[in-house]
């Protein structure tokens, strides 16, 4: 995969030129002059993208921060609130709870797909080119391409009282476990998490599989000769070799968990109680339903900061072993 090359330091075009004789010196000066002109061209080419980004994204981030310091209902004039909205996030169990819920979702959105993906990929890597494996590439990807809304609708139905999940449980004699999964305080959040795991598993598995296909087979052969079993092989060769891919999976899925909205909006609307309320949904409710723009914005700022705070250290973790 090309990303291997991308990670390298900037390719040395200039370094290559130095191998040539000094007769190039004059041309190089001309090139430098041109480079100055290219500076202006470059800025002109950057302008449209930067303009869109500045107007809609940067400005919106700034305005979110601004709103978060006000009490505002979106209609009448706002009043200054200082850090009041942030204090509310800490004090109000509903707001704080939504953040806790988002972190719990990480278990399902990230840990399960990555762990299950690792095991599956390690099991099938040896016949990754068989027909079954090729078909699986297509099938396992289906959840990735459909809208999350559709995943939410499908699973709400599967997890309902008379849904397939309970039907299967009853058929295998586990009827006592059957319940309205999305309507039960103990299971609603995990049930939402399962929907996320279903969506994200395929992506993780295939990413990890792609990573494993780059492992030098001789490593495994050497391990076998040393008498290593499947388990040791998995932990001492496979997992370390795909550390980067694991990092990617975790990053993508953690963001999906913390910023979840679509699935919850469709399947539980945050209920029962507030047991599946997540920050994204709470921002939406606060801003457009309860019309507490200030509190909504404070929560939005908290969410943006949280995502950065979780994702940035992850980059360090996956990168640290490289050098």
């Amino acid at each position: 995969m090309s990303d291997q090359r991308l990670a390298r330091p900037r390719p040395g075009g200039r370094g290559a030129a130095q191998h040539d004789s000094s007769s190039l010196e004059g041309r190089r000066r001309a090139l430098r002059a041109r480079r100055l002109r290219r500076g202006w061209v470059a800025w002109a080419l950057l302008l449209p993208a930067a303009a869109f980004y500045g107007v809609f994204v940067i400005q919106s981030i700034v305005r979110t921060v601004q709103y978060s310091f006000y009490d505002w209902n979106g209609v009448t004039a706002a009043t200054w609130a200082g850090f009041g909205n942030y204090v509310e996030i800490v004090r109000d169990p509903e707001l704080g709870g939504s953040i806790v819920n988002a972190f719990e979702l990480i278990l399902f959105f990230s840990v399960i797909p990555v762990a299950l993906g690792l095991v599956t990929a390690a099991t099938i890597r040896k016949f990754a080119t068989s027909r079954l494996a090729l078909v699986s590439r297509t099938v396992l990807f289906l959840p990735q391409i459909i809208p999350l809304v559709a995943a939410g609708i499908m699973w709400s139905w599967l997890l309902s009282t008379d849904g397939l999940v309970n039907q299967v449980l009853r058929a295998v004699g586990l009827g006592a476990l059957a319940r309205p999964w999305l309507g039960d305080f103990d299971t609603a959040l995990p049930a939402v998490g399962v929907i996320g795991a279903w969506v994200l598993f395929g992506l993780c598995m295939l990413l990890l599989l792609a990573g494993m296909s780059k492992i030098d087979p001789s490593l495994y052969e050497a391990a076998r000769i040393d008498g290593a079993g499947v388990v040791r092989e998995f932990f001492s060769i496979t997992v370390p070799s795909v550390r980067q891919e694991i990092g990617v999976c975790v990053t993508v899925t953690v963001i999906a968990a913390l910023a979840s909205f679509d699935i919850v909006y469709i399947s539980t609307q945050g209920g029962p109680g507030n047991s599946t309320l997540v920050p994204g949904l709470e921002i939406y409710y606060l801003a457009f339903f309860e019309r507490e723009i200030g509190t909504a914005s404070a929560l939005a700022v908290a969410l943006m900061v949280l995502v950065l705070a979780v994702v940035l250290p992850l980059q360090r973790l996956t990168r640290s072993g490289d050098s």
């Binding site: 981030i61 305005r63 209609v75 009448t76 319940r179 891919e245 109680g273 980059q315 990168r319």
Partner: protein, 456 residues
Amino acid sequence: MSRPGGWDRRRGIAAVLLVGGLAAVAACSPPGAGAPTQGSSSTAGGTAGAAPTCGDEDVTLQAYIETGFPLPKALMDEFTKQHPNVTFDIREDQFAVITQNAPRVLVDDPPDLMRLPQVSELASDGLLLDLDRYAAAFGWDQWPASQLEQMRVDENGRRGDGPLYAMGLNSSMTGVFYNKEQAAQIGMTTPPTTLAEFDGYLQAAKDAGLVPVAQFNGGATGGLAFPLQNLMTSYGAPTPINDWIFQKEGASIDTDTNLQAAQHLEKWIEAGYFADDINSMDYSMMMSRFIGGKSVFIFDGDWESGNLDKQMAGNVGFFLMPPATEGGAQAAMSAPLTYGVSAKAANPDCAAFFLDWAATNEQARTIGVEVGGSRPMGPADAFMPEVDADTVTAQTLAAGAKIGEDNGAMDFIANATGAIYAKSWTPNLQKMVAGQQTPEGLLKAVQADYESEIGD
């Protein structure tokens, strides 16, 4: 892997701080500073005095209605038949979605007619058209005052008095529907006259292996508020509850009789009188179960009467919640099927004319009763269609008359503030079902949310 390397991470953080700094600068001018302070006084044009009409030219009314209730569409179809120049562009959503969208839609996509949740905040924010001018022109102010008081909002945002901000398509009322066949099976031949008797039938249904009550309580709609408020009226009087709903000074939901009611509800939950999946049951699932014979009772409103007469002809009965002691006064939640006009509506005159028509036209009143199942709005002596005495529609109409005599009408506790239902009653009732909330805690939590909402 080509994520940003270490060199730019620190600067990334610096950039975040920079953005924060920018924000502090931007904070100088508060959002909404340029917003007009009041928009509500803008009553739409038209000649004063003469009652407005829809005119002769083609008009398309933008209507935003609630999914699953055939009455508005039936009325609109009939209206177009009588006034061919008027057509309706209808958008439908579930009530919870409408509640969430109301403030935005009224401003940014203004409908001429819109199904509304409770109106106090929408009215005081100037989103709804003041209908007083129409009330005078059409003579709505001559109707029994109680019909309209829930839709009046004073300058402090309290309901019950002040300008009129909405109208009803009819006036609905709630109680208990029951499956006659199953009721006979558990020995209930006439409706219970005391709460204790009702308790007995619930237990009998449970003992007979039937589901006593399938009550919707899932998603954003806590349907246990229906039995709860019914129980409140068994134990206490409707007036304090109405005061609370209308945000009268010092009103509280956390009273002794309401606590008894909440404890009674908890007793029902613990006794297993409700289906075990009510926390994931939505309204239409409840209806489907009841119609399919999978629930002996449901707490619901007369808007279903017409539907039930069709789907369970002869097999469905209705009674008002029995009082705690025999012969006690009865009360019921009773509210207009509220429709309002956006302050920015394009055709307010025609919309108002439609609302008046729905209350006064004989054909419309017939549809109101037969399709809607409830009493239409309008003067006390207005035309009423003949209704077959065996139908549940007849029973609910009679019950409505009884409530009128007893002065037992009250609004719905879910209508006290804009967000009290979805953000307070619903989650707390769902918690109570799961054993995570006590009756005391329920009332205290709701009262706290109520105070924090009307406080600012």
